[in-house]
């Protein structure tokens, strides 16, 4: 049987577009079907515009907190949030266009419209049908909502609505203290909005080491962000001026008022209504696709990656899964499923938070023999020079083998610094490799070196 394409990809997010380009590099003729903007959630209403807002928020804060100490007058009376919004859209559009350019350059056909799987080799878009030897489903996810807290994008916002705000509210409540919720808390509060975060679990950013999160929470509290953990929103009433949210926590029940409510309690996979179950692809009880070692679904020739899998809903995970899947299709399988401990998590607030591998709690729960080393940025000259001394580099390691089990950083540039440690972990290096390497002075990376030395008992600056 002959097909129009070797590969038809459904969805052009960081899973889909990267997979299509990689496929093309490997000699497969590929097409991408996209119903919305190229680049998916990440580029258009996710990672990228949120980072542009964060960047502006940081400039805004620093100008007032630090620059103003030099006699420069920072007058925010004319501040226009819509300009910040526009900047974030420009950035997103530029990158979305970039994806268009890359797809074209790599000779990947772009098909515009909503695709539905008709059979394992056929994607229908409107009246047209596109056939592929392989089909890769990368349809991503959508904001989850819960009954009673329905998103209207006017008063009750999803992350999309929050990104699209052109005007700032005076108060906002953020339901859900995951990475997305905390990043919005940072952005809004930096611009003077009163923010309350409501989290059901006993810790915001539950996937991160608890000590790292403590530093962030302390910093956020100092800035006037209220964080309520172990707190459950039980009911929502819309009023003329916004919302009243009833929250039940350890200390009882309270009513919170705000102009807007941002619901960021997770994202649901886009796996319904696109023919998946109809052709035999298996979903788990939460609607995520079940896959094998190379992201093959139960149906021969059909693969699935990204936010529709029960793996961490992160852009870099989606991309890597796509790479692994297309290598398998191309008959050149190299790696299998992404090992969980090699996936970095990053939160781009200030201070930033990043980490991978086992948290201290996880190491303890697993009954591993582990130790931790915590080196504070206070002891790092560059951190002092730039006035960002809160935070630390924390290593969870095996004291016997000196293997790194996990690493967590809170502080300036944490999201970049984590990669040196991740490389060490992934390439089976040991504490010695980092502790003995010369690190440029003065850099924040010296904190990474010192943490490794600390684990070995010879940190200098502590």
């Amino acid at each position: 049987m002959s097909y129009q394409y070797d590969l038809v990809v459904l969805g052009s997010g960081p899973g889909g577009y990267v997979a299509a380009i990689r496929a093309s590099q490997l000699g497969l003729k590929a097409a991408v079907v996209e119903k919305d903007k190229l680049g998916g959630v990440c580029l258009n209403i996710g990672c990228i515009p949120s980072k542009a807002l964060i960047h502006m928020a940081t400039l805004y804060r620093q100008a007032q907190e630090t620059l103003s100490r030099t006699g420069v007058k920072v007058d925010t009376s004319g501040f226009d949030y819509e300009k910040v919004f526009s900047y974030s859209r420009q950035v997103a559009d530029r990158l979305s266009k970039g994806v268009q350019y890359l797809l074209k350059k790599n000779k990947v056909d772009v098909i515009t419209g909503e695709g539905v799987l008709e059979d394992p080799h056929t994607v229908r878009v409107g009246d047209a049908r596109y056939t592929g030897k392989f089909v890769l489903v990368a349809t991503g996810s959508s904001p989850r909502s819960i009954p009673g807290f329905e998103i209207d994008e006017l008063v009750v916002l999803s992350s999309t609505g929050a990104l699209m705000l052109k005007e700032l509210p005076t108060r906002i409540i953020i339901l859900g203290g995951g990475a997305i919720g905390m990043e919005f808390a940072y952005v809004f509060s930096s611009f003077g909005v009163q923010v309350t975060v409501v989290e059901m679990l006993d810790q915001v950013l539950p996937f991160m080491d608890h000590e790292v999160v403590e530093v962030l929470v302390k910093d956020f509290s100092k800035r006037g962000i209220t964080i309520l953990t172990s707190s459950k929103a039980t009911s929502l009433v819309k009023t003329e001026s916004g919302v009243v949210l009833t929250v039940e926590g350890a200390s009882g029940r309270q009513e919170l008022q705000a102009e807007k409510l941002l619901v960021s309690i997770g994202r649901a996979p886009n796996t319904r209504g696109i023919g998946l179950e109809e052709i035999g692809v298996q979903l788990d009880e939460r609607g995520f696709v079940k896959v094998g070692d190379y992201y093959q679904t139960a149906v021969e020739g059909v693969y699935a990656i990204g936010d529709i899998l029960p793996t961490p809903q992160l852009a870099h995970v989606a991309s890597k899964e796509g790479e692994i899947a297309v290598l398998h299709m191309a008959g050149r399988p190299k790696e299998k499923v992404l090992p969980q401990e090699e996936i970095p998590s990053a939160v781009y607030t200030e201070p930033q938070v990043a980490g991978f591998g086992l948290t201290e709690k996880e190491a303890k729960e697993k009954g591993l023999s582990y130790k931790t080393a915590v080196f504070p940025f206070r002891g790092v000259g560059k951190a002092v020079a730039v006035g960002e001394v809160d935070g630390f580099v924390k290593l969870v390691y095996d004291p016997e083998t000196e293997e790194i089990l996990g690493a967590f950083i809170v502080g300036p540039e944490a999201t970049e610094l984590v990669h040196e440690l991740l490389l060490a972990k992934r390439s089976e290096l040991l504490l010695d490799d980092i502790s003995h390497m010369v690190h440029a002075h003065p850099t924040l990376s010296e904190g990474v070196m010192e943490a490794a030395r600390m684990a070995q008992g010879w940190a200098i600056h502590v």
Partner: protein
């Protein structure tokens, strides 16, 4: 992981050491290296090649 590697008798070598050994046909099994925790480094493989070149039997 390196710890498990050693226990299973798997070879613990740097990628460059591995590559050199592969190209020069040096058997790394049972070899103890000079890197962290006995990791076989490129210099260790070079030493074997040199000894071989001089017609000296490899060290156990």
């Amino acid at each position: 992981s390196p710890g498990e590697g050693r226990e299973e008798g798997r070879i613990y070598a740097s990628p460059r050491a591995r590559r050199l050994a592969e190209r020069e046909g040096v058997d790394l099994s049972g070899m103890k290296g000079s890197g962290p925790r006995g990791r076989i480094m490129e210099r260790d493989v070079r030493a074997v090649i040199e000894r071989r070149g001089r017609g000296v039997a490899p060290e156990g």
